[in-house]
Each structure stands twice: as C-alpha cells, then as structure tokens.
Amino acid sequence: MTDFPTPHTVKQQLQACRSKEETFKALVTLSKALPRLSGEEKTEDNKIKGCESAVWLIVEEDAGRRYFRADSDAKLMRGVLVAVISLVTGKTQQAIQEKDLKAELAELNLSSYLTSSRSNGVLAILQALQA
C-alpha cells in the first residue's frame, strides 16, 4: 500500500508507457495505491451502474472540497480509478465540473477505456465524479 499518487506521478508513469503491456503494468502498480473499501461500504447505492466490473464510489466533502474513495473488483479498473481520482480529489465541485476529464484521460494513454463498448464503465464513472 503506497501513498495516493499526485496527478504528476500518475502522468509520468502512464505517459512513459510505450505499449499496451506497459500501460497494464503501470495500472497494476497504480492500483496498489487505492485504499480498498470495506464490505459495508460496497452498497448498492454506492455502486456505479453500467460498468462491466463492479465499481463503487464514495464522495466526501470537507470545507467545500471533494474527496473520493472507490473500489472495484477488477485490478486494472482500480488502476484507472487511481488515475481519475488523482485528477479531481481535493478540488471544489465547480473545478471538477469544469474539467475535460475525457481529454485528460486520453493524454494518459487511457483512451482505449473511452471507446463506446467499454465506455459504459469509465464514462459512467466520470459522470459520477462530475455530478
């Protein structure tokens, strides 16, 4: 269990990948930084509908800033969650909503997660983050 990475570290790690294989390895590494949710936290309410793997998301607000905790039963998805959360956590709702998260994910070599067949998953997560 490592510290939750900064957007900068995430960027460095993912942009360095020269192949899908390397991206996977980087996502596996990133996934380890995600604190897992407890069984009780994985409620139906926290579950994001429309993902191929199960994904849970909890939003907490503190002094006008939003903090996200999440989990998935799929490891690569946990890596993706770390990447997305690093982009938004600790920011205000407005700041989050103003972001073009799709574009930022594309920059991180994660655009294959945004194609329509898989998008169900990641696009639903982006929507939940920006809600």
């Binding site: 509908k49 191929e52 294959s112 194609t115 329509s116 067949s117 898989r118």
Partner: protein, 405 residues
C-alpha cells in the same frame, strides 16, 4: 438541373443488365430500391475488416464493430433530426417497428378506447392495430381521406376523447399521395393520443424532421431507401419509448437476470433484444450518407418529373384511370378498364419493364377506389426519361394487344 441520373446510375451495377433482351427498366422502387456501390462497399468492408458481436465484447474487432454500430445509430438520428441517439431503435423494418409499438402500448389500452388510422394505410399500419383492437376490446376507426389525400369534410368527429392511438402514413404506397400529416398530428395531440407515422414511402424521397412532425413514433425500412434488407428504424420520443413494454426479451436488453425477476437495460438497448443486425445498421447508415451526399431537392424534383411525364403522356391517351396525383408524387398508379393489371404487368415484364400490379398490400383502399388492384410504376433517383417512355410505350402496346376482344 444540378444532378444527372445517368452518372448516378453507375453507382448501381444491377441496372446495367437486360431482361429477355430488352433494357431493364426497374420501376418497382416503392417495393424496394436498388443499392449503390457505396452501400455494398460498406457491407463488404464490415465483414472483411471488423465484423464482431457488439457491446458485449472488449477486443480489437468488437471495439471497432461497436463504434461503427453506434455511429450508425448516430447517423440515423441525424438523418431524421432525432434529438438523441437513444431515440433510434433498430428494427427489422417498418412492419416490425409498428408491431413493437402495438405490442408495447397494449397495457395502456382499455375496452372502448379508440385506435384511429387513415383509409390510405398499408396492411403493415393496419393489421397490427386491428389485432390490438381485437385483443383489448378497443375500436379500430378509420379516418377517411380522399384519394387526393385530403381530409373529408367532417374529419373532426373521428377524433374523440377515447382516441388513444393515431397512426397514419406520410405517403401512400399504393397511390402516391401525401397526407396532411402535421395538421393530423396536431389534431391527435389535442386528444393526447399517441401518434405514429409510417414513413416507409417517405424517407427515400423527402427530408424527414421528426421534431418538426412532432409525432411520438416514426417508422421506416432501410431497403426502401437504398439500404440493405432486414433493417429499419423505430424512432420515438423518450417518454413514448419509455412506456413501451419490451416486445422481445433476451440478451443485450437486460441489466440483471435472476429466475425470479429481470431488470431491464436502459434505452435504446431495452428494446433491442439479441444480437442486432450489425451489418444492416452499418449499411443503412451508409445509405443515409449516400443520400446526404446528393443534392436531395434535385433528386426529388427529378423523380417527380419522371412521374409527371408519365402521367401527362397517359392522360392524353384516354381510356386509362389514374389514381396518383398529377404532380408532387414519385409514382404513377393506374388501371385500364376491362384489362386485368396482372396481364398488363406480365406484358410489361416481357419487354423488360419492372412494375407492380395488385392491391399493394392495401385491400381496404382498393375497395374504396372500387378496383381489385392497380398498376404502379414508382421512380427512384437513378431512373431515366427513357425508362419512363419505355414504360408508356410498352403499356400502350399491351393495351392494344390485351384489349383486343
């Protein structure tokens, strides 16, 4: 005119053949149109480069297939000006789309409710409503339109507080007239009836704007608009599609299945059970693109000119009953007293002219016109003036030979 049907014809290899030694004049376009190379290439490209099952897979080919399939939906939405992609439901054709609605609304119908159709309907927009009426005890009522497509005097009395569904064709396949669609829809809306428009004969010729028509449902078939067979569209407003009970159940349309209960998926998937006709969707999108690339007003003007040319030649001859309007239509529908349309048809065929004889799946309309059938020559953008004349010449010859008593 900005467009040239002779050049366009090169896109249609099937037209470059002879029938029994005569040039083939394909004038049966209201039954089905021929397909441009642009569409055939899209089909080949699909099967040769990225065929895979959609949605459920996550691999190289299935990603590409899914993207193309959903882009096809987007193109169709654009083609009819639907506000969102999810308003476009793939169907097998106009017939299935109408059945989907008739089945899906059954739970809202009660005894003595009324379903109103017009007197110009194709069986596809008649029998499903009639059977729905039989099942629910609702009444099927028929709004009489004149054979010019105009309202009868007292049309108001056909709309009542019990009118739950109003279904009307945009263009008659049998006699080529257009209906006063927008005013009829507006009238039906006063009574909060669900409105369905059968656009099967409209989409190939006229620009369609479902938001402007403002109907709840709009249906059409791909094969009548230069697209492949086995594919069509059910467009619906969100609220209208939401109330439909899914006509088919199975894979794709579900979220979660247990033996005790099933949670259905969201629109559009909720109404699309099973593996879709992926090739058909992609081919139909290509047909939309083909049409969009043309000068569509010029195409329509040309088709109308051909129909008008035939009308004008035949009316001069005398002895021929014409049921289609003189202008603003893309087909000619006629009969000759004492000669069966089937005999005319057979003679025309023997000289390479492909037209259609019979009731055009509209028995009640034929009864109203007082004929057992008509002979119909229907035009598409690739037809030529020579073909229109070939039709007239052979028809007159046929009348001479067959009229000999």
């Amino acid at each position: 005119m900005a467009f040239d049907s002779y050049t366009l014809r090169n896109q249609f290899p099937i037209l470059q053949q002879t029938a029994y030694g005569y040039p083939l004049a394909y004038l049966d376009n209201a039954a089905t149109t021929q397909k441009p190379l642009f569409v055939l290439d899209a089909i080949q490209d699909y099967y040769r480069s990225f065929n895979a099952n959609v949605h459920r897979g996550a691999h190289f080919l299935s990603d590409r297939a899914t993207n193309h399939f959903e882009q096809a939906r987007e193109r169709l939405a654009h083609f009819i000006n639907a506000p969102k992609n999810s308003h476009v439901i793939w169907s097998k054709g106009a017939t299935e789309a109408i059945n989907m609605v008739a089945y899906g609304l059954e739970h809202l119908l009660q005894k003595d409710d009324e379903i109103l159709i017009t007197s110009l309907e194709h069986h596809a927009n008649l029998v499903p409503w009639q059977q729905l009426a039989f099942r629910t005890g609702a009444r099927l009522r028929v709004l009489p339109l004149t054979s010019n497509g105009e309202w009868e005097n007292e049309y108001q009395k056909y709309f009542t507080d019990r009118t739950r569904i109003f279904a009307a064709t945009q263009v008659s396949n049998a006699i080529g007239v257009s209906t006063p669609l927008k005013t009829m829809i507006a009238e039906a809306q006063k009574y909060h009836a669900f409105t369905l428009v059968d656009g099967a004969q409209a989409v190939a010729h006229y620009p369609v704007d479902v938001q402007d028509i403002d109907c709840d449902f709009y249906v059409f078939s791909g094969h009548k608009m230069y697209g492949p067979t086995g594919i069509g569209v059910l467009y619906g407003k969100s609220q209208a599609l939401e109330v439909l009970i899914p006509y088919q159940t199975g894979g794709e349309m579900v979220r979660h299945v247990a033996y005790q209960a099933t949670e259905f998926n969201l629109l559009p998937y909720r109404l699309e059970a099973g593996t879709p006709h992926i090739e058909g969707a992609i081919g139909l999108a290509a047909a939309c693109e083909f049409l969009t690339q043309q000068d569509r007003p010029a195409l329509l003007a040309w088709e109308q000119k051909l129909a008008n040319h035939v009308y004008t030649r035949l009316i001069k001859e005398g002895g021929i009953e014409l049921y289609s309007p003189e202008k603003n239509t893309t087909l000619v529908s006629l009969s000759v007293p004492n000669i069966h349309t089937i005999d005319l048809n057979a003679y025309l065929d023997s000289k390479g002219v492909a037209v259609r004889a019979g009731s055009h799946c509209a028995h009640p309309l034929m009864a109203q016109l007082g004929v057992s059938g008509t002979l119909r020559a229907s035009f598409a953008c690739y037809n030529t003036l020579e073909e229109a004349d070939q039709f007239c010449d052979v028809l007159l010859e046929a009348i001479e030979i067959l009229g000999d008593d």
